[in-house]
Amino acid sequence: MIERGSSRMRLSGFLKKETIQIIRDPSSLLLGIVMPVVLLLIFGYGVSLDPKNVPVAMVLEDSGPEARELAARFKLSPYFKPQSVYSVAEAKELVNSGNVDGILIIRSDFSTQLAKEFRAEVQLILNGMDANRARLIQGYGQGTIGKWLEVRRARGKSGVLPPIIVEQRIWFNESADSTNFLVPGLLTLIMTLIGTLLTALVVAREWERGTMEALLATPLTPGEILLGKIIPYFILGMMGMLLSVTLGVFLFDVPLRGSLILLIALSGLFLLASLGLGLLISSATRVQFVAAMVSVIVGFLPAFFLSGLLFDLESTPKLVQIISYIIPARYFVIISQTLFLAGNIWSTILPAAGLLAVMAIVLLGATKKKLVRRLPQ
């Protein structure tokens, strides 16, 4: 039987070796510390789903005061950057060359129609290649016209108000700022990268170089080997996570409405599941090249596409939804978005956390089993 003291000594020696390996290899630190900062800065400053200053070609065929006023509204709007052109043909040219996103046409009969028949049309033709963006821009166009009508009415000129209006409330993110949901989602991506990608090669490398045989010949138990592989990467991952949270909250003003301790604890749980996945891939494939490909395919890409981080899962076909249930990132995305934006809502967090815990246990247990299986014949 192994004594307690010597087990601790063995483990601490092994841990020291693993830690030195990480510190000596700049690429781990690059991924663990530098990458989160770079990604967060890019996401926070660079990525937004909210269009602003959309360049449109404006064809103003009517020189009446009403038409000019409406055109001025569009010029003042923060959403549009109209550029006056003289003909629709010229405007088409600009759309096709990608210089503008659309054409706003106020026809020559605009004022007369408005005066005579009380109804006039404004045409907004958009480049629909980016459907999501086009739809948002259409909404802004509607809003700009609605505002103008309101102003007219306030000045005593008559104008019909729509009989029903929608008073909309977006809870948890009143201004619908996309940074607020991208940053919590990014946390998931960063921890998947550190947890799965970084560790996928760790065990496979030892097999490929033959040092795994040497390791198995030592009195280290499989459990100790597993711990020695997990602990250093766990610490690295948590450092990356804390760094991202700090930057998100202080630099990008993402609210953290839930408890920080809960966020740290559940991030740890998710990191364990990711590490388990990475180490399992590593010990199952035993070849670095294959481990690298598999970790990207089952770790990174699903975390991006099938986690609800960017794309809505409920609008996908049933089969895709079923696949998404086995992706740990799916549960962490909802946990981190809830904790950041909504608060400690136990009815959402507890089931997700429970499933993450089950996944972590299963993945780590399977890895331990794989490690016990000794040398290949």
Binding site: M35, V95, E121, N132, G159, V160, S178, F289, M293, Q337
Partner: protein, 373 residues
């Protein structure tokens, strides 16, 4: 022509390294195809089945007429009818519904009196993009109902109103899947090519066989070509296959020319191989190569205009995207698929990628020699 012979030998050896091992053979060929299908379905901004709850405090003909429009829409699915506004919190917080439609008690009275009636809609903003899109759907349904009310009141004829007529070119119905899937092949092939090319030199370096290659009678450019051709072939094969699947399986329209598609993908893959080999020549181990290629790949995807438009980015970052080959291929593919681009019209996307390749490939070849310890 012994140089050509040497290059061919090298290329065959490189193909052998990937294809000899059954595991790596499968890993290179099968997953990109599976991924394309799964992600092609997953990657859409359009919503179907938005779960909503209703709190109808008016309970009149008018409120029921409005709600019937939601029930009839394919985008919405009623999950619950509430009886008090206290239940709203529970619905949204517990994610039982994504939005709650609350019709106040005075809804019909105001309508009948000719005042403006209000419908309150509360959305879960945890994913603000989903919330904004869902609210857009709500607004257009309410507008339809509003104009049918207005018509019955005959109001439109006495007071001025302005209608915005919307049209979208290239994607008339604004299907966001067209936008994503047309460029998805470029992204997936970039990932595969980056990994393949970055691991190829790093693996030899880790096992020490790269030094043997360097002392063998090969010139650096021969080694470079030998290393570059296999990832180019795999990447181009994947990218073309995925483009075909986009048309045949996802029914994405293809208005452009095949020549433009082949040329832009070839130049793109060559540029990516250049970046991959550049990363590879800087790494000493496979781990460094894999992580290094992700350090390049992640920002490239985020700043490539694949999921979020480049136009929404701040000026400085927009300038930075000019060195990103993905930016050009994503835009070019969409032009070819949706706007009928041909070689002439996508040329502005092709030459910058050729420039990127012309810079990265020679640097990688030069670094091969220098980095040997």
């Amino acid at each position: 022509m012994s140089s050509l012979k040497r290059i061919i030998t090298l290329i065959l050896k490189e193909f052998g390294m990937v294809l000899r091992d059954p595991k790596s053979r499968i890993v290179v060929i099968v997953p990109p195809i599976l991924q394309f299908f799964v992600f092609g379905f997953a990657a859409t901004y359009d919503l179907t089945d938005i779960r909503y709850a209703v709190l109808d405090q008016s309970r009149t003909e008018q409120s029921r007429a409005l709600l019937a429009r939601f029930e009839g829409s394919v985008n919405f699915r009623l999950v619950s009818t509430l009886s008090s506004d206290k239940q709203i919190v529970e619905m949204i917080d517990g994610e039982k519904a994504r939005l709650v439609i609350n019709i106040p008690a005075d809804f019909s009275e105001k309508l009948v009196r000719g005042e403006q009636a209000v419908v309150q809609v509360i959305a879960d903003g945890r994913n603000s993009n989903v919330a904004a899109i869902a609210l857009g759907y709500v607004n257009s349904i309410v507008q339809q109902q509003a104009s049918s009310f207005a018509k019955t009141r005959g109001q439109l004829l006495t007071e001025p109103s302005i209608k915005l007529v919307n049209r979208a070119w290239f994607n008339e119905n604004l299907v966001s899947r067209w936008y994503i899937v047309s460029a998805l092949g470029g992204v997936i092939s970039m990932l595969i090519v980056m990994i393949l090319s970055s691991l190829s030199v790093a693996r030899e370096r880790e096992f020490g066989t790269f030094d043997q290659l360097l002392v063998a009678p090969f010139r650096p450019f021969e080694i470079l070509i030998g290393k570059a051709i296999p990832p180019i072939v795999f990447g181009l094969f994947d990218a073309l296959l995925l483009s075909g699947a986009a048309v045949l399986f996802f029914k994405i329209p293809f208005h452009g020319t095949v020549a433009a598609l082949v040329v832009i993908l070839t130049v793109f893959v060559v540029a990516v191989v250049g970046m991959g080999l550049f990363v590879s020549s800087l790494s000493k181990t496979m781990q460094q190569a894999l992580l290094g290629s992700f350090v390049v790949f992640m920002p490239a995807v985020i700043l490539g205009g694949f999921t979020t438009p480049i136009e929404n980015m701040p000026e400085l970052l927009q300038i930075a995207t000019y060195i990103n080959p993905l930016r050009y291929v994503v835009y070019g593919l969409r032009q070819i698929f949706l706007a009928g681009g041909d070689l002439h019209s996508v040329w502005p996307q092709i030459w910058p990628m050729a420039c990127i390749a012309a810079v990265t490939l020679p640097i990688a070849g030069w670094l091969f020699r220098r980095q040997t310890s």
